[in-house]
Subunit: 139 residues, 4 copies
């Protein structure tokens, strides 16, 4: 699949918020994980089979998260992801979470995942097919 | 060990609260799990070794939780546990969470754990030594 | 609305599981909260407006949770709820979570919510219309 | 206080882990929040009073997280924080989480917090006293 894109929708729950009245900074990262997990399966990165048959795991090795504006209880949000780039033994995803009602950008995230073989945790070479997943650069 | 008792202390964090301004109902149950986990090790229920060597697991099969009064951000709380009773293949714990400053009871919990052998999940007989862990009944 | 029923769907994520290989007991209760929250709005219990305009809050005062069988990473689950009964100042919900692929019942939950007026937390009388929400008894 | 340093200890619980057998990437960030929250109070950033009296809030605006090595169930971990730098309207913290038994570095985190006045969310000038909190640069 070329130029893979994926998005998920979610409605903010009480357990996502904190007593400052807005969504807690860690809750957004659960939504990003949900988007990344479903996206991976949708674009052909079958991590469940890879783990079971080849002891290969994709593990998060870096997060960069910018918080732009807060969501509140009840908000409908959309999380959108692309594959930003692929390196020898890791893959970068980029995500945005926006409120549906006004398209306001709430957070942006870059995540680097490494491919490792367990139980030693040795880095493995990214499959050639994953290089096609990279989204075209925006200008 | 007879009449096992155990308690843990905790300070309420933002991620424990929700936008109603008080601690979210699920957060208390993390504190109870921390108390139960440390208590088990302290009173001789070495679940980590049991799992590794005998494929025996203690699994929560029932919660009964009463919420009496809410905690708020920054509160110091104490979680206290006892073994309430032991049956053929399960053990009941009872917990209370209280605010330290005024001893106010915040929640009370009864939890039943079963002892099962994996991977089939077959119920196993509770070790004889666990029967000594039961706390004396209050009148 | 009479005989209110409601259900939500969910796919199990890594953050729902623990190192015993199955879903952690607290994760199921987030799914139940999602079902209850969306159900409340769908059946006319507009807790967001009640909180803002009348300082009325529905607060969980009791959970009874039975864990029957575990879900694992990737499972599709359905959470279904009904209003079990209504009392002078509280309402009981009942929920079941089932795996979609084999309809296996994973957990069942009874939750009692009280209606209270903040900031004093004084119990309030349940609106008459809520009594119609009760599901018919199964035999 | 000059060269503020702070550390907290924690024992890994089941709810911190996932079915890959190690700690889930979001769990570490709860430990970092606990360290930052207690550190702030210890070094004189009284965010509870600031929020109540002046409607001033410190909000996380950026996370950079590097995952070096995983923790497992039962590990004792130490989270250590310093103030890395202070700018006109924000403050950077740096944290490390290490396993106590072998001092292995598990994750490193940089977090930028902004000082904002609610409800408008307008950026505010950092108090002069906070500039003294910055730790000396390591060579």
């Amino acid at each position: 699949m070329k130029n893979a894109q994926y998005s998920t929708h979610y409605q903010v729950m009480y357990y996502d918020t904190d007593c400052n009245g807005v969504v807690h900074n860690l809750a957004y990262l659960r939504w990003v994980e949900e988007c990344r997990t479903k996206m991976a399966l949708a674009i052909g990165i079958d991590f469940l089979t890879m783990a079971k048959e080849d002891q290969l795991f994709t593990v998060v090795v870096r997060h960069e998260v910018d918080y732009h504006s807060p969501a509140v209880m009840g908000d409908e949000v959309q999380t959108s992801g692309i594959v930003e780039s692929v390196e020898k033994s890791s893959i970068w995803f980029r995500f945005e979470v926006r409120r549906v009602s006004d398209s306001k950008k709430l957070i942006s995230v870059r995540q680097r995942l490494a491919l490792v073989r367990m139980p030693q945790g040795r880095p493995c070479r990214i499959p050639a097919s994953w290089f096609d997943l990279v989204a075209p650069q925006e200008d």
